[in-house]
């Protein structure tokens, strides 16, 4: 059975079908057909819950490139299942929501094609056991996200956001790929499960830590961790359903999934613990801190998402300590953090999904998301208000909403971690809950801002484009379902815990079943409760006194944000690239020749000296006759004189002398055929020179500065010396007899007494044939050069 593989493929197939069917369905909104896909898939995955919850795993393989060990292996355990359900479940809700959200002028086929593409890719990410297949889907999610962000590509901001997200996530993806390849290099397999089985032998391997950091790079970029978080706010240019789906509920969780998935491989050491925890905590704080200052509701949600992702990330870091301690009480104690992470991962999807949808409704119905222009909407949009309150309060960690439960567990985990007897935590441990707490205060503040600035206060109806009314019922269904879940999970959290979170925890840290607690809302008056109380009190105060401390945001210079850094990096990169490239790619042929010959002198000449090849032995030489010596002198003088020729004709004459002298050398060295050919060719060449001179001006004295001339002379001498030295060295030691003795039987073999001719016409006739072809092509080229003229002919540069 390839059920799971087919499940992954279904969205892709549906994607391919969309362009084919969208013209044939008449007035039916294509979204309804699309909705069938995630719904069906959700049901398929939901049907797996019973089996998975008792610890089974599903695993199916289809061959892709078996010869390289790259196979489409699907692996479904608790961890994968949670995410699969999220993907398909949220997917269903978002598709439903989008049917009402999109305007008729939008291109539905494109939207749904991208969305389905994403869905398939995301399922692939969470279900793949093979690292490379995982990577394939990973990049596909980046691409579909890219396309969705730029859905309204005529907007500049959309294009900007799309590019930013793609560059950052693909960058991280490449790092991750390198990490994967390192894992493969260590273990010889691409299968995650097989790696887990053998990784214990490789923890001392030199590549272990590089691989770890590279994989984390992928995770951090995808999950918008500090400082890679900057793409996420700009991704809000996507239509709101997309923001709800990709940029809060699912895609950004891929990084978290990755960290969780790789916990069995890398966790259990200080580097992993600290890297993830610190990055998570900073992200948590920075996201929350920045969210407070946002005036665009979606931007606020984006930063809040960053912050929440940081929270989950830090939990995964803290929980990794369980790997260090293994199965046991200690392990269970710290493993709780993982449990909390998984729990919050689900919760975040519910409340953030609801919030996005609520904001989408506001945007859709009011025409703006700018807090400064909003206010008093409670009267006009009561239902939406309800959604917003539920979502916000859950996010703020207030009771009766699921966020409270996971937030409490988060505090528990931080407090536990403060006393962790490993990884050198002791000195700094106390900072972990402190930072968590401060960040949570800010979380509280922006949640209040979201609710109160939008729905309370005086309405500014005149400033709005539309008169706000509740949207059609269809748009309310999805957020309503999410709100029900938010509350439902508060009251029946263990349904989730027992059936999904516990098996998922087993997926993250195998065999640490003890860490999965029974979730309960009330733990007595413990530290965590006081922390929450503190948050509410301090948060409320801060919210009320917002105007008085808002100044602190101005402490950060405007040009010191990471986005500015990113922008100027790209800009400077282009500028520097342009500067460098135009400095050596000058289009100046003499410069290019200079590079080439310098390279020749440096490498070939260098090799001759460095390898110690140079050896000159004149003993093997044949004797020199006086006239031969004189002829050499003639050539040398003629050649050097060319350099000083004031007229091109003189130069051509001297070149003719060279040509004739070489012909005589061919005579002296017993090469009559060569002499004949050389002579005729030389004459015809000279004639051609003269013919062409008619169209060219007399040459002028080289007006290069003296420095250039000296440089050129040095290069020329260097080139000449290099050729000479190598030649002398070759001449000094004959390693092998030439094969040409064979040709001396040319009369018997080829019926010719002229050996050279036999070689040309028979032994190496192919060369001769091609050589005549070369000549022929040159003839064609000359003809076309002259006959096909600009102006007379096609004229333009691009004549096609």
């Amino acid at each position: 059975m390839y059920l799971l593989i087919i499940a992954i493929l279904i969205p892709f197939i549906a994607t391919a079908l969309i362009p084919l069917i969208h013209n044939r369905i008449g007035s039916l909104h294509i979204g309804w057909l699309v909705l069938l896909v995630p719904t069906a898939l959700f049901i398929i995955f939901a049907l797996q819950i019973p089996a998975i919850s008792v610890g089974e795993v599903l695993n199916q393989t289809a061959n892709w490139i078996p010869s390289l060990g790259i196979n489409f292996t699907v692996y479904l355990d608790g961890l994968s299942l949670i995410l699969a359900l999220l993907i398909t479940g949220m997917g269903s809700l978002v598709v439903l929501y989008s049917i009402y959200y999109l305007s008729p002028s939008d291109s539905f086929p494109h939207f749904y094609a991208y969305l389905l593409l994403f869905m398939g890719a995301m399922l692939g990410v969470v279900l793949s056991d093979n690292l490379l297949v995982l990577y394939v889907f990973w990049e596909l999610t980046s691409i579909s996200s890219f396309l969705l962000i730029a859905f309204w590509y005529h907007r500049k901001n959309s294009r900007y956001g799309a590019q930013k997200s793609l560059l950052i996530t693909v960058f991280g993806g490449l790092g991750m790929l390198a990490g994967f390849m390192m894992l493969h290099s260590m273990t010889g397999t691409f299968s995650i499960r097989e790696i887990i089985a053998v990784i214990g032998q490789y923890t001392d391997h030199a590549l272990f830590y590089p691989a770890m950091f590279l994989v984390l790079l992928g995770a951090f970029t995808k999950s918008a961790q500090f400082p890679f978080h900057i793409w996420l706010p700009d991704a809000m240019e996507a239509p709101t359903p997309v923001s709800a789906y990709l940029h809060s509920a699912t895609m950004v969780k891929a990084g978290l999934y990755l960290v969780a998935r790789f916990t069995p491989i890398f966790a259990g050491n200080a580097s992993w613990f600290w890297t993830i925890t610190i990055v998570g905590l900073i992200t948590l704080f920075w996201g929350a801190f920045c969210a407070v200052r946002q005036t665009d509701l979606k931007a606020l949600l984006a930063y809040s998402t960053i912050s929440q992702l940081g929270l989950i990330m830090s939990l995964l870091g803290l929980g990794s300590a369980a790997m260090y301690f293994g199965d046991g009480e200690q392990g269970a104690l710290y493993g709780l953090a993982i449990f909390a992470a998984l729990f919050h991962l689900v919760n975040h999807s519910t409340f953030k999904g609801a919030l996005f949808m609520a904001v989408g409704i506001i945007d859709h119905q009011v025409g703006t998301r700018d807090i400064r222009r909003l206010g008093g909407l409670m009267a006009f949009l009561p239902i939406t208000f309800t959604f917003a309150v539920i979502g916000s309060f859950s996010m703020a960690g207030l009771p009766f909403f699921n966020g409270f439960l996971s937030k409490e567990m988060f505090f528990t985990a931080t407090v536990n971690a403060a006393g962790l007897p490993a990884f050198g935590v002791s000195a700094w441990g106390v900072l972990i809950p402190v930072i968590a707490w401060i960040a949570s205060v800010f979380t509280f503040v922006y949640c209040m801002i979201l609710v109160f600035r939008t729905f309370f206060g005086s309405s500014q109806l005149k400033k709005l484009d539309k008169q706000p009314v509740e949207p059609s019922i269809g748009m309310l269904i999805s957020p309503a379902i999410l709100c029900i879940l938010i509350i439902g999970l508060f009251f029946a959290p263990n349904l989730l815990g027992d059936y999904l979170l516990r098996p998922a925890l087993n997926g993250v840290i195998p065999g640490i079943s003890g860490a999965a607690p029974q979730i309960s809302a009330w733990h007595g008056f413990n530290t965590e409760l006081f922390m929450t109380l503190g948050i509410v009190i301090v948060g409320t105060l801060l919210f009320l006194t917002f105007r008085s401390w808002f100044k602190i945001y101005r402490l950060q210079p405007a040009d010191w944000t990471f986005t500015v850094l990113y922008n100027s990096f790209l800009k400077d990169l282009k500028r520097v690239a342009n500067w460098i490239t135009t400095h050596y790619m000058t289009g100046h042929l003499p410069a290019y020749f200079a590079y080439i010959f310098i390279f020749f002198i440096a490498t070939a000449g260098g090799a001759l000296l460095i390898t110690g090849a140079l050896s000159v032995d004149l003993m093997a030489d044949s004797p020199i006759s006086i006239y031969e010596g004189m002829l050499v002198a003639v050539m040398a003088v003629a050649a050097v004189s060319i350099l000083f020729a004031k007229s091109r004709l003189t130069a051509i004459l001297l070149n003719g002398v060279l040509g004739f002298s070489i012909a005589i050398f061919f005579v002296l060295f017993r090469a009559p055929d060569l002499a004949l050919t050389q002579l005729v060719i030389e004459t015809v060449t000279t004639t051609l020179f003269l013919l062409c001179f008619n169209f060219l001006p007399e040459w002028k004295k080289e007006d290069s500065p003296k420095r250039t001339k000296i440089r050129n002379a040095l290069i020329a001498i260097g080139g000449g010396v290099t050729v000479t030295l190598i030649g002398l060295t070759v001449n000094s030691g004959e390693l092998f007899e030439s094969i040409s003795g064979y040709f001396e039987d040319s009369y018997e073999l080829a019926g010719g007494e002229n050996i050279v001719n036999a070689i040309l016409g028979d032994f190496r006739a192919f060369d001769t044939m091609l050589e005549s072809l070369v000549l022929f092509i040159a003839g064609l080229g000359v003809y076309t050069l002259i006959r096909l003229k600009v102006g007379k002919g096609s004229g333009k540069d691009e004549h096609q």
């Binding site: 010869s67 490379l132 790929l177 090849a613 004549h799």
Partner: protein, 494 residues
């Protein structure tokens, strides 16, 4: 008798010469050319299959046994490249059929293309170093003709540089051949390899090998790529596409052949140098690709990046890296042809090659846009397109061999590829559509079919890697075990 082996070179030549007599019949020439390239592809498939079943085989021209005569040798590496270049040429020719002006067609465009591919195929197949030189010249002369065909100012200007530099590089080739002949007294590649191995590649031979390295680097655009951006961005569309797809590949092929078959004994010198050059090429190409606003120039620098990338594989020279290079080589032939065809089409549509002059093409030419998008991803090595597997294998090999600098540069270069093309996509296909559908010049009917064929090819190669795997594995195995090649060529004699 393996006479079929000569056909990938001979057929284009004969057809090309015959087309001279059909000068005025542009379309007839086109169809005949396409047909001949398809036949060549078919023959290549057969040859590939034969190599797989019977092992390397050869054709001794005139029946003269190696090392005395010239011969063609078919191994998986060379035949794979012949096959790919023949297919790509057929597709490019079909683009020419639709798009090229009558005037160009009657000015020996098709014969020149056929001679070019003949030179390319010959270079892949020949087993004789001097014959390689001659095949290079066939290819180069054809490229000169094609480069200047059209005679625009820019073409002439760039052609001067291209031709001059190639003359000098051919000179280096002859110098290297002279030295090599002086040292080992033979020209047959297998025989040279055998003799070099016999003396264990003396320092002198290493020096000579570096001269060869310079020659082939000039052709391949490895570090010495000064001639490339200008000349690849000046001629008409189809010519650029053929150049982008084929020309540098021949140099790359030659580098792989010589430095795996002949000069592999001193890798600490030669392969280190190749590695350094590949690294610098990656850097230079990456910077160039993002430095300009002319989309042809951007495409041309992308060629440079690919060269660096492929040569990383040779610098590392492990089975995986060589396989990766072969995959990437094949991928790049397809994808670069596609890239240049698309870029050319964009320029034709908007009348400029500057990004600033194009906007929102996506709206009126969605198919063109999506083709470009796929090309961009494929070139950036995004899975599951054709560029992916090569990237994976080369990075893996870089890790295995501890070449972390090369690894980093190779991977980062993909980001630069992506960014450079993303800029094009973002600026040209997205954005406000300036001109209404009615005002935009219509695409010539069928002009995108060749592009789509290449798109399918790049997707197909990516997904169907397994189909190629046995051939590529065999190719890499042969490259890394010179004995196989030498035995196949010289075995019968000894």
């Amino acid at each position: 008798m393996n006479n079929l082996l000569v056909l990938p070179m001979l057929l284009p030549i004969v057809v090309g010469v015959l087309l001279i007599f059909l000068r005025t019949y542009g379309r007839v020439q086109a169809w005949i050319s396409i047909a001949s390239m398809l036949v060549t592809s078919g023959i290549s498939v057969y040859l590939l299959h034969k190599v797989q079943t019977d092992g390397i085989f050869r054709l001794d021209f005139g029946g003269w046994e190696p090392p005395f005569g010239i011969l063609f040798v078919a191994d998986s590496f060379s035949v794979l490249l012949v096959l790919t270049s023949s297919i790509v040429t057929a597709i490019c020719l079909s683009y020419a059929l639709i798009s090229t002006s009558k005037e160009l067609q009657t000015m020996y465009f098709y014969p020149s293309v056929l001679f070019l591919i003949a030179g390319v195929n010959g270079s892949f197949l020949t087993g004789d170093l001097f014959n390689l030189f001659v095949c290079f010249e066939v290819m180069l002369l054809s490229s000169y003709v094609l480069l200047t065909l059209g005679n625009s100012k820019r073409q002439l200007r760039e052609a001067i540089k291209y031709v001059s530099i190639n003359i000098v590089s051919s000179w280096f080739f002859l110098v290297a051949l002279a030295f090599l002949y002086g040292a080992v007294g033979t020209l047959n590649m297998a025989h040279v390899a055998e003799r070099v191995a016999e003396v264990g590649q003396t320092p002198l031979l290493t020096t000579i090998s570096i001269v060869f390295l310079i020659v082939f680097s000039l052709k391949a655009g490895l570090l010495l790529y000064f001639w490339l951006p200008g000349s690849y961005s000046s001629p008409p569309i189809v010519t650029s596409a053929l150049f982008g797809a084929l020309l540098t590949k021949v140099g790359i092929y030659a580098l792989f052949r010589t430095f795996s078959l002949i000069f592999y004994h001193q890798p600490e010198t030669t392969h280190l140098l190749i590695g350094i050059m590949a690294a610098l090429t990656l850097i230079g190409g990456s910077l160039g690709a993002i430095a300009f606003n002319d989309i042809r120039t951007i495409a041309a620098y992308n060629v440079v990046i690919a060269v660096g990338f492929i040569l990383v594989g040779l610098a590392i020279s492990t089975p995986a890296s060589i396989e990766g290079s072969i995959y990437y080589l094949i991928h790049d032939m397809v994808a670069k042809a596609l890239l240049f065809l698309l870029v050319g089409t964009m320029i034709t549509l908007s009348g400029t090659s500057k990004m600033a002059g194009m906007s929102g093409l996506m709206k009126n030419y969605p198919l063109l846009g999506w083709s470009f998008f796929v090309t961009m991803l494929s070139l950036a090595g995004i899975p599951p397109l054709s560029g992916f597997i090569g990237k994976v294998l080369i990075s893996g090999a870089a890790i295995d061999s501890g070449s972390y600098v090369l690894l980093a540069l190779a991977l980062l270069s993909s980001i630069f590829v992506l960014y450079s093309l993303l800029r094009v996509f973002k600026n040209c296909f997205w954005g406000e559509t300036i001109v209404s559908k009615e005002e935009q010049p219509p695409l010539r009917k069928g002009v995108l079919w060749p592009c789509l064929a290449l798109v399918l090819l790049t997707i197909g190669i990516g997904l169907g890697t397994e189909g190629m795997a046995p051939y590529v594995t065999d190719a890499a195995e042969t490259l890394l075990n010179p004995g196989i090649y030498i035995d196949a060529v010289l075995g019968l004699i000894q």
